[in-house]
Structure formats: C-alpha cells, structure tokens
C-alpha cells in the first residue's frame, strides 16, 4: 500500500497555505480544521500567530503537530506575518487564508487538479460565499469570468479562494508589508500584470463577515486610502465614467449572488439558498474534535 501512496505523493503538487492569526480565537479552530480536513496529502500548512492573547494558542494546541511551521511571536501586522510565512513555504501552489475564513471541502484537491489540467493558468479564484460569526451563510458574490480590466480596477477578487503557482510568486514577488488592508489587492495587481488568472465556477472557501473583521472596521478610512495608493503605485487612474462602471460591476456581482440565493440551484462548495450552517457543507466535521490519523 505504501508504494501506491508514494506514487500519489509524487503526482500531487505541494500546496502551501499560510494563516496569519492575531486574536481570532472564536474562528481559528474552524479555519484550521477546514484546512487540515481537506484530505490532501501534500499539504504544507504554515500558521503565523502574532502573539495572540485571547486563547488562540490553546485552540491551536491539538493541531500543532500538523503544521509545517508554527510561529507565535509579536510581528508587524498581518502583511508582515503572511510575507514571512511565504518566505518559509516550499509548495508548488500557494495561498493564504485569514484566520476567520474557511476552505470548502475538497477545495485543495480541486485546485491541484485544475492546475494540472490547465498548465497555462497561474492563479485561480472562485465565487465568494459569506458567512456570519455563527457560520450561517448570509450572501454570495457570483463573479463573472475573469477580466483583467475589471479586476485590476476594482478590488473584487475573493482573497480566501485565490491560489497561485510558485512561479508567479517568484516572478512578481512577495506581499508588500507596508499595506495593512489592501495587501491582497496590491499582490493580485502585480500577479495580474505578471500571469494569467482564471475564475472557477464554484466556491473554494467561505469569507466571514463579522464586526471585528478588518473589512468591516477599516474599509472606509484606511481601506479606501490604501486602495487609491495601490492604484497610484501601479499607474491605474480611474477615468471619468469608469467609477460608475465600477459601482455597476460591484452591484452586478452582488445581484447575481442574490439571484443565486433565490434560484434554489447550488454550485459546488455551497448549498442552495442562505441561512444554512456552513458546517453542514462539511457534514458536521468542523464542529467535531477529531482529526484523521496522520499517514
């Protein structure tokens, strides 16, 4: 049996996932479990804890030996933690997952298969499924096919669903630690300039909207300023009329999500409608305590 496993081992590209964490104890358990329960054999999971004080370390304790790298010390914010995590990573495919977001079941296997079947694609992302602090699905973003024009100008790529190849990382560099909010926007802009993106028609993860999330607290002051700064840095100037297009695009994404929610249809990675517990997509595994045995 080990012979077969070793051949599998070679065929599966290594996937590196970095989770920066700082005081998100209520959610990080779900996040970590959603990664460790992927049943993906060649996973490199790096957790960078910025010296949390709310019991995060106790939550992480049972999973410590599953992490390829675990660091718990004071850092210079989320972007710094992620950047240092990426420096340590060795995976063929890379991503980072914030400590309140989750992956969909089977997402890594799908991503690996997708990259194997689409050698020209350097990065992929999916639609966004938003959950609240009780893991209840509340809304969706259904994105159109990838367009560099739209995605460069407006920050709508769901970060928790985005995976990229190492070659893009090596070509376009690491996260810029100067940003606190728009670090993913800056990164994706650079990657979009350097490689090919694709959107997959499913949900690869779930984004949590809660009152202490950065998206909720920082969007209006720091967030907007940083987004303009990023756009300035890359020489993107939103022309007259284009700003309205941005508004319509954003509304369009949300409206498609609303239609999806009402339609009763379902895409892989989520169930139909809203209001269900995201854990039911996982078959109740996120709220369990057990983990599969180590190989």
């Amino acid at each position: 049996m080990f012979g077969i496993q070793s051949t599998l081992f070679m065929t599966q590209p290594r996937i590196s996932i970095v989770t920066p964490s700082y005081n998100q104890a209520p959610y990080i358990g779900w996040t970590v479990r959603s990664v460790l329960l992927q049943r993906y054999s060649n996973l490199e999971y790096i957790v960078m804890d910025g010296g949390s004080t709310d019991g995060t370390q106790e939550v992480l304790e049972p999973y410590r030996e599953r992490f390829a790298h675990y660091l718990s010390e004071k850092d210079n914010g989320q972007s710094d933690a992620v950047a240092r995590g990426f420096e340590r990573s060795t995976g063929e495919i890379m991503a980072y997952l914030n400590s309140d977001d989750m992956l969909a079941p089977g997402a890594l296997q799908y991503v690996a298969d997708f990259f194997r079947h689409n050698p020209k694609v350097d990065a992929i992302y999916s639609h966004r499924c938003t959950v609240d602090e009780h893991n209840k699905a509340i809304s969706y973003w259904i994105l159109p096919r990838h367009s560099n024009y739209l995605m460069k100008r407006w920050d709508l790529i769901p970060q928790e669903t985005c995976f990229w190849r190492r070659r893009l990382f090596e070509k376009c560099g690491n996260i810029d630690p100067q940003f606190r909010f728009a670090l993913d926007y800056d990164l994706f802009l650079r990657y979009m300039n350097g490689g090919r993106f694709a959107r997959v028609n499913r949900f690869l993860g779930a984004f949590r909207y809660h009152s202490t999330a950065k998206t909720a607290t920082l969007l209006h002051d720091v967030g907007q300023a940083e987004i303009r700064k990023v756009q300035g840095k890359h020489g993107l100037w939103i022309r007259k009329g284009e700003s309205m297009l941005g508004g319509v695009f954003s509304l369009y994404v949300q409206r498609r999500g609303f239609r999806y929610q009402l339609s009763g249809r379902s895409l892989p990675g989520a169930l139909a409608g809203v209001g269900y517990d995201y854990d039911s997509v996982w078959g109740g595994l996120l709220n369990e305590k057990r983990l599969p045995e180590l190989v």
Partner: protein, 1073 residues
C-alpha cells in the same frame, strides 16, 4: 326522778337576754316539767373551795386544804349528789312533775363541768341573733354593749356574755350529739307550737295544750330575782323584737359589735342573712383576725379575773378549765400573731399589687388607646386599599378587554385586507403584476418557487376537559411542542374532580387562558374558550386526542398561503392499543348537503377563521354530542371547506368516550337535520335530487381521480371494529423528540401505518410516517445509536430461521392486504409456471448492477479505487476483483467481518460510515464509493453521505442501493412489504428524495435504476399472508407456493415495472462535482 346519770334532767343553754325565760315559762307550763327561774346551783357547786379573798379563815388555806382533801372526781361526785338531791326535792314538792329543767344562762362558764357531772342530761341551746341580744341589752337593761366594748378596757361581767359566752357555746356544744338540741329564738316566737312540740319530744314527753299561753302575774317567775321580768307583761310569745338591732344601733356601733361577734360565728348560728343586710348598710367584715384580736382582749381580762379567783383561793394545782383557758389564750395569741403577720404580708402585697395594678391600668390605658387608634387606621387603610385594588383590577380587566379587542380588530383588518387584495378586480391585479415585475427587475428575478413573505396567522386552540387526567398531559404536550409562533392555547375545564387541573397547572405559564368551572357540556366549554379567542384561526382538540407533529404549523402555512380559504378539514389517525392507523379517508370536496346527509368530519382537524365562526352564530351550546356537526352545517352554508393534505391529529379510541355512543349522536343529528330539511325542501325536491345525483357522481370518481398511493386503510375486518390488534409494546403517543425528515428537517406530514418488527418479532410497535415534501418514509419512535446497535447484535448477525406467527386470538393487522390498481392486482394473480420465469435470476446481482451503473470513469489517476462501505465479509469486493482491475477497499463496523474480508486480501478499515473521514487515512481518495443497502439503516444518512463525499475524488461516484418507496410491490402488499423492515430501516427513499439528498450533499444524481429480486418478493408474499403482527426472518426457506408466486411477480416486475423506476430497490449514482 333524776338519777345519777342525769336522766330526766335538762339544761337550757344560751346567752342572757336571748329568750331563755320565755322558753322556761313555756316548758314549765307542761304538767310533767318543772322549770323554775334560774337555780345557778351548778356554778356554786363548781366553785367549792374557792372563797372570797377577804374570807376571815384565809381563802388561800381553804382552797389548798379542800383541794388536798378532796380531789376533782370527789368534787364532781359530791356536786352530782348535791344537785340531784336539790333537784329531786323540788320535783317531789310539785305534784306530777317528773322532769327538771335547769335554766341558768351563765352555765356557759362551766359547760365541761356540767357535762362531767350529768352525763345523760339533755341540753337545749336556745340561739338568738347576737345583734338582737345586744339590742335587748340596750332596750331592757339600758346597756349599750357597743359602747362598752369599743374602747374600754374595763369590762363588766355581763360584757363577757356576748363575747366569751357566745364563743364558748359555739366551740363546746356539739350539735351532732343526740343529747343536744338547738332551737332558735326566732322560730320559737314565730312558730311557738311546733317549736315547743320539738322541745317536748326531745325531752321524751308529749307537748301539752296551751303551753304557749301563760299568765305569769303570780308565778314564781314574777317573784324570782332573776329572769326577764318583761315576760310577765305578755301572755304569749311575740315576734316584735326580731330585727330590733336595726333601729337600736348606728353603723359604727354595728361595726364594733360585728367585729366582736365575728361573721363566721354569725354564719355558724345561721344568721348569714343579717350579715348580708349589714354589708348592705356598709358594715364590712373585718376578717377573723380582727375578731380574734378583739375577743383576745376580752379573754385577757377574763383570764385575769380567773387568775384573781385562783390567787384568792391559792390553788397551786390549776383547775382543768383555767388551764384550758390559758392554753386557749396562748393558742389565740399565736393565732392572732400568725393572722396579724399574714395580714401585714397581705396588706403589703395588696399595696404592691395595687400600685402594680395602678401602673398597669395606666399603661394599658395608653396601650389600649394606641391599639384602638392603630386598629382604626388599619381598618381605614384596608378598606381604602381594597377599594383601590378593586378599582385597579377593574381597570386592568377593562384594559385587557380593550387590548384584546384592538388586537382582534387589527388582525381582522389585516386579514380583511388580504382577502380584499385577493379579490381585487382584474385591472388592479394587472397593475400589481406589472409593478411587481418592475420591482423584481431591479432587485433580481426570483428563480424557482415563489416565496411568500406573509406572516403566519395567529391560531387559537381550545381543549375542553372533564376528568381527563389520563391523557390530558399528552394532549397539552402535543399542542405546546408544536412551537407555533402565534398560538393562543385555552384549556376549559368543566370542574374536574380528579388530578386534571394539577396537570394543567404545570403548564400554566404556557397556556394563555385556563377556565375551571362547572359547565353545560363539552360544547359549552368550547364556546367559552372560543369567546376568549384572539386568533384569526380557530380549532379545538379534545383532551383524549393529540395533534400530529408539525400539524399546527402546516395549518398556519395553509391559511397563510391560501388567503381566500376560510376553513380546512383534515384526515386523522386512530390510536388504538398502541397501534396507530390512518383513519378513513375524507373526500377532497365537501358541501353542506353531504354533511347534512351524515358525513362525519374529524373535528380535531377542522380549522376555520374566527370571522366566519362569528357570522355563523357560534356553537349551539345546548348540543351534547353533535355540536360540531351542527356547526359544520352552518359554516358550510357560509364558506367552502378545503381539505388539508396531511394527517393533522390523532383520535384516541378510549372505551366509554362520548363518540362511542353513536345512537345518541344520531338522535341529535336527526333532530337538527329535520329542521334543515324543512328549510331546504324535502328530499324529493328538484334541487335536492340534483345534489344527490352530483354526490353519486363524485363518489364514483374521487377515489380514482386522486392519488392515494400510500394510503393504507384498514380492511373491513380491521382491528378497531373487528377485534384487538396483536399486542405489542406501545411507542410513546407523543414525544417531544418528534419524527423528523432528515432532508427537510420538518416533521413528516402523513402516517402510513404502524407495524411491529416483521423480521425478528420484536414487540415495539413502530409507526411509519411519510414526508411528502421529500417523498420519503420515516420510522418513529427514534432509536438511539446504542439501542440500534443492541438490536443488530441480537438479531442481525445470527437471525433465527423460523417464522413467528401472529398471536392467537388477536387480529394481525393488514393480513392479506392487497392494494394497487385493478390491473396490478390482476397481474399479481397471474402465477406463471416456473418454466416461464426462467429469466428471473436468484443469484446476487449487486456486482453487475454496481459496475454497470458507473460507466465512463476517468482512469487518469491510475487504477480505479473502490470503497465498499459496509462491506461485511468482502463478498462484493471479491466479485469485483474477479471481473475488474479495480483496487478494492472496505469499511466495516463489525470487527469479525472486517477480519474475514482482510483474509480475502482486501484492505478493510473497521469503523462506522460516519467515521470514515477519521478511519480512512487522509491521503486516500476514491473513484467509487458503494453504500449497498446501508443508507436506510442510518440514523443520519445525510451527514454520512456528506462526509463520504469528502473521500471521493473530484468527479468520483457514489453508488447507493436502497429499497424503493416507489415500488409497485408497496402498492400490492402495502404494509406487509418486506422492505419496510422497522425499526431497522429508519428511512425509505424514492428517486425524488435521493435527488434531493444528492443536492443537499453537494453532489449530482446521475443515474437511478430500479430492480427486483425474487427472494425479497418471497418475503413480501409470505408476510402478506401473515400480517404485520407476525415475523418472517430473512434466512427462511419458503414453500413452493410462495416461491412460485414471487417468481412470477418478479417476472412481471422485470418487464412491467423495474424499467419505469417502480422496481423493488434502487441503485442510484451520485457524482461529485
């Protein structure tokens, strides 16, 4: 003659001035009695030897010599002889006189001497009120005793009479002695004859005539120095001097006299009345100590006199009576001292008590005043607060009524609005439609089902109860655990005398209203409850009955989604001996005539709007049994009733319940029906004829036109009417742990039937429910994982190969059940010869059915990996390795079976299906996962499928085989179909429900095929012959007859039904997207 003992001798005792002279005169008048005036002789005899101190021969020497010479006894003998001689001489001197009476009052000084001298002499004591005696002293002798006694220390001899004499007489005369007679002066003067007669009889003589009439002018009395001279002036006794003391003395004098005489003495002599009169005059009793002290003084002087006499006589040996006087004196003194001490003590105590009482009085006066004031204010406050309380209560009641009215009005307006909206004219509707489109164009067109956002209507349920403690708890639980959001629940009790109200009170915080009073029957109670209703929709539940799980929610949703419907009725189920069966079907349409003709609606399942109820005039409270029927008739005239497609309630068959007496019910119905027929025209009228014809047409077709596929009515020989069903262990009639459909999460809406374990004969009666939304069957009651494992351990691994017949004497429910359409039944009867059925295979076809249903698997991952969940001993894995190059894995909870499969060379993990994620190494993922006849056994099939999905590669397939709820054999065999298999089969799926499950597990259903196998058909055929009270295990060898029938049925199934998805079991393929 007088002898030595003193026979014929008598002494008259008494104080001077107490009428002794009168008595002696009366006695002397008797011819045999001699009573001369005062002889004094005994006093003289007593003082022999005591001479005057101035005696020339020296009185001292005389006394000493005499006492030396003659002792006391000699003196007495001498005195006796002397006195006898003197008395007899006098008697001899008078002719006829034989009795001598010696009347000398001052003999009181020497009473012991007198008695010692004449032992048998008779004593007559003449008593008189001492105060009258004193008055007589004053009147006759001019001596005021009171003044003499008051302060003077010098007492003359006569002053001793009233003090010493009275005292002596009282102390020394023994009344119980037969020799003594006491008479009273008052009696003597008022009733002289009788009194005289008493005295004469005492003396042993007959009284003589005219004794009380006397003339004393020349008698010895007039000549004598002693005695009362006044008596000579009167001829007979008179009573004038009785009570003379009242005029003779003033108050102070009387007080002095009383102090000396003593109240005790007065009472002893029988003059208590005088004491009372004295008291009334203000003369008080000073107490015995005062009397003793006063007398003591007189006695002192008296003793001194005696001492003088002794001193004169120089007698050293004291005379016995003087000795006694000394002792008496000492005794008296001691008594006086003691009494004085007591007096002082009691005076002090009295003073103390007096002051205490004074203080207390003052204090209590204050306290009493305070108390009175406090009481007054308390009473005032109480009355005021009572009044205020009543006011507040009245206000509250008024407000509550107002609130209820307002709520009701608001709800009514809202409902009315909805109704009007539904009835809006066409242009308005068109406008609404267009504007709706415009709105949705902005927000987004809703795909799929239209969702209503109207709120649920408020609901009022009334439960009438009278002495229903046996089932009321379950009834209340079944209402409250519905968790209907706007429920008003009212319990109306008819004054139960058992524990009903105790049970109801346990739920009082969740019951809106509780009424407990004597009422006028069940319908009166319900009408009372509905009077309080604020809900838009009304219904009632009898205390024996139950709502099915989720029933109220379905009613609310129906009214919400059908705003124009005003009344719905439902079918219900029957609970009997632990078995639950669906009750008779209700037609999809009903009109008033059908009801009038006697169609019975199940009252627990009828719900209607309150507005309709009010406009129909409410319940007829006078009805006893058919009140509901009467209401339906009237409601039917107002609104159309709709059938709700669910089992709403459970009717419990209880011996002796109201509905059991159908004759009484029909009598009431007959009465009302007659009135309605009068109104509507007789049955012969044209409209009635037309209606009847229409009903006949309806009755012909409605059963055929409606799909009643899973309705398993009891046959005519059914249990409820025909006999008792096979005994079994009843499931709880109502559990808070309600049956739930695992896919929709709501309670299933119809009951299919109940059944015991038909495989291994377990006693528990299971109930099969049906969820129409997900099209699947659910087994109730729920069993925990432990209970299930226990069952499997006991029966499944080593089943008994014997059939268990139903119990004798009971009806095995659904025995020989045959359903389905005419054609199906005809086909089932066509038993073909075996030759014709050669195409029907007996062998296990799982492997080929599995492989044949997963075509087009991707082989890019190399070898196809196959996981059999519940592989048991690896039979299927063996078969697969024989025909394919698949890599086979197994998952099996039973360790022994897993070991067997491992021996066959397969990799097998031991564990339950839901733990597959943790048991199977995490780098393993599979192309095909097989759940063969497993999913229907699982407590939570959806979770298992969701978790197993994680073990699939993208694009991998999950193959499930499970019994088919769409099976044609269910139509034919009904509850005796072998695949119901309760309680082991928890859920039964149809293609529709499997599709739903695939979607919920984030997969797609890519293929469904149905198959039949003759062995399972054999079991169904066999069980059909035995009913669900029996058991047929799955290892049994069947008879040829059964096998033939099953073979031909499987043959027909293969050609007619399997390919249409109506085969016995399903093979379904899910694909991971």
């Amino acid at each position: 003659m007088i002898d030595q003992d003193g026979h014929n001798l008598a002494f008259i005792l008494g104080l001077p001035r107490s009428g002794t002279t009168l008595l002696s005169v009366i006695l002397d008048k008797h011819p045999q009695v001699m009573c001369p005036p005062e002889p004094w002789i005994m006093l003289a005899l007593e003082s022999v030897g005591k001479t005057c101190i101035r005696h020339p021969a020296d009185s001292r020497l005389i006394g000493q010599a005499v006492s030396e010479f003659s002792d006391a006894e000699a003196n007495v003998a001498a005195a006796r002889a002397f006195a006898t001689t003197v008395y007899n001489r006098r008697l001899d001197g008078a002719a006829g006189k034989s009795v001598f009476v010696d009347k000398t009052p001052r003999y009181y000084h020497i009473l012991p001497f007198v008695r010692q001298t004449f032992r048998e002499a008779k004593w007559i004591w003449l008593q008189r009120n001492p105060l009258d005696v004193a008055a007589s002293y004053k009147g006759s002798w001019k001596i005021n005793l009171a003044e003499v006694l008051k302060g003077n220390n010098e007492y003359p001899a006569w002053s001793f009479d009233i003090v010493v004499g009275l005292d002596r007489l009282c102390r020394e005369v023994d009344f119980s002695d037969p020799r003594v007679l006491a008479i009273q002066y008052e009696q003597l003067v008022t009733d002289a004859e009788n009194c005289t007669a008493r005295v004469m009889r005492f003396l042993g003589l007959e009284p003589a005539a005219d004794q009380t009439q006397f003339d004393l002018a020349n008698s010895s009395f007039a000549k004598s120095f002693a005695g009362d001279k006044k008596i000579t002036e009167t001829g007979k006794p008179h009573a004038q001097s009785i009570g003379a003391w009242k005029s003779a003395f003033n108050k102070d004098e009387l007080q002095v006299l009383l102090d000396f005489i003593g109240v005790e003495t007065m009472r002893q002599l029988g003059y208590g009345a005088a004491v009372n009169e004295l008291k009334a005059m203000g003369v008080n009793d000073s107490g015995p100590h005062v009397t003793a002290e006063r007398r003591g003084r007189v006695l002192q002087i008296y003793a001194d006199r005696l001492a003088d006499v002794q001193a004169a006589a120089r007698v050293d040996v004291p005379m016995p009576w003087t000795q006694r006087i000394d002792a008496e004196l000492a005794e008296r003194k001691a008594a006086i001292e003691k009494l004085t001490g007591e007096l002082t003590q009691s005076r002090t105590r009295e003073q103390q008590l007096g002051s205490d009482i004074k203080t207390f009085m003052e204090l209590s006066k204050d306290t009493a005043a305070d108390l009175e004031r406090a009481n007054a204010s308390l009473a005032e406050a109480t009355t005021r607060s009572d009044a205020r309380e009543q006011e507040i209560e009245a206000e509250n009641r008024k407000k509550q009524i107002e609130i209820a009215d307002l709520t009701r009005n608001a709800a009514d307006y809202k409902f009315r609005y909805e109704e009007l909206r539904a009835k809006a004219p066409l242009p308005v509707k068109a406008y609404r439609w267009v504007s709706g489109i415009a709105q949705r164009a902005i927000v987004g067109w809703p795909h799929g089902r239209r969702r209503t956002h109207r709120p649920l209507p408020s609901l009022t349920v009334v439960t009438p109860v009278f002495n229903g403690e046996a089932h009321i708890r379950e009834a209340i639980e079944s209402v409250l655990s519905q968790n209907y959001p706007q429920l008003q629940y009212i319990v109306v009790d008819g004054g139960s005398t058992d524990g009903t109200m105790g049970i109801v009170n346990e739920y009082k915080d969740r019951i809106s209203h509780m009424i407990s009073e004597k009422d006028n029957g069940m319908y009166d109670a319900i009408a009372k409850g509905w009077q309080l209703a604020t809900g838009q929709v009304l219904g009632y539940l009898n205390c024996d009955d139950l709502y099915e799980a989720g029933g109220l929610m379905r009613v609310g949703e129906y009214f919400r989604d059908h705003p124009r419907t005003a009344a719905v009725y439902h079918e219900d189920t029957v609970l009997f001996d632990g078995w639950r069966f669906p009750n008779a079907a209700q037609p999809p349409r009903l009109d008033r005539l059908a009801i009038l003709k006697g169609h019975i609606l199940f009252q627990d399942g009828v719900f209607f709007k309150r507005s309709v109820y009010q406009s129909a005039g409410g319940l007829n409270r006078a009805m006893r049994r058919a009140g509901d029927w009467d209401l339906w008739v009237r409601l039917m005239g107002k609104v159309r009733f709709r059938r709700g497609e669910a089992h709403q309630s459970t009717f419990r068959v209880v011996p002796g319940q109201l509905s059991a007496d159908m004759a009484a019910y029909n009598a009431e119905v007959q009465h009302v029906r007659g009135e309605w027929y009068k109104k509507l025209g007789q049955g012969g009228s044209l409209p009635m004829k037309a209606c009847n014809a229409w009903h006949r047409v309806q009755n012909l077709f409605w059963r055929k036109l409606t799909n009643r596929r899973l309705f398993f009515s009891l046959p005519a020989s059914g249990c409820v009417n025909g006999g008792r069903p096979s005994p079994g262990r009843a499931a709880p009639a109502f559990l808070a742990d309600q049956p739930r459909c695992p896919l929709t999460g709501v309670p299933p809406d119809r009951l299919l039937f109940s059944s015991r374990d038909t495989r291994f004969g377990d006693e528990l009666i299971n109930q099969m429910y049906y969820c129409s939304e997900s099209d699947m069957a659910v087994t109730y009651p729920p069993l925990s994982k432990e209970q299930l494992n226990d069952l499997y351990e006991r029966h499944y691994s080593n089943p008994d190969a014997k059939m268990i017949p139903a119990r004798e004497g009971f009806v095995s429910p659904y025995i020989n059940y045959r359903g389905g359409g005419y054609f199906d039944r005809w086909i089932a009867k066509q038993v073909l010869p075996r030759v014709a059925c050669r195409g029907v295979r007996w062998d296990d076809q799982t492997c080929e059915q599995l492989i044949g249903n997963v075509p087009g698997l991707s082989r890019e991952g190399g070898q196809i990996k196959f996981l059999d969940v519940g592989c048991f001993d690896g039979k299927l894995l063996n078969a697969i390795t024989k025909v394919t190059d698949w890599k086979t894995y197994g998952l099996e909870p039973n360790s022994k079976a897993a070991e067997l499969a491992r021996r066959e060379g397969h990799q097998v993990w031991q564990g339950f299906a839901e733990d597959a994620t943790f048991v199977v190494p995490q780098d393993m993922s599979f192309d095909v996962i097989h759940l063969g006849q497993t999913i229907e056994h699982l407590g939570d099939p959806l979770t298992v499928v969701r978790r197993l999905r994680g073990l699939l590669k993208p694009g991998g397939r999950m193959v499930l085989s499970t019994p088919n709820l769409n099976s044609k054999q269910i139509d034919l065999f009904g509850p005796t179909w072998s695949h119901w298999h309760p309680p082991y089969h928890r859920f039964l799926f149809s293609p529709k429900s499997l599709k739903m499950m695939a979607k919920l597990a984030d997969m797609e259903l890519v293929r469904t095929r149905s198959y039949s196998h003759p062995y399972w058909t054999c079991m169904s055929v066999q069980l059909n012959k035995m009913g669900v009270g029996a058991a047929v295990p799955h290892t049994v060898n069947f008879s040829d007859e059964v096998v033939n029938e099953a073979l031909s049925l499987t043959f027909w199934s293969k050609w007619l039904w399997d390919w249409r998805g109506r085969g016995d079991y399903l093979v379904t393929v899910f694909r991971k997207r």
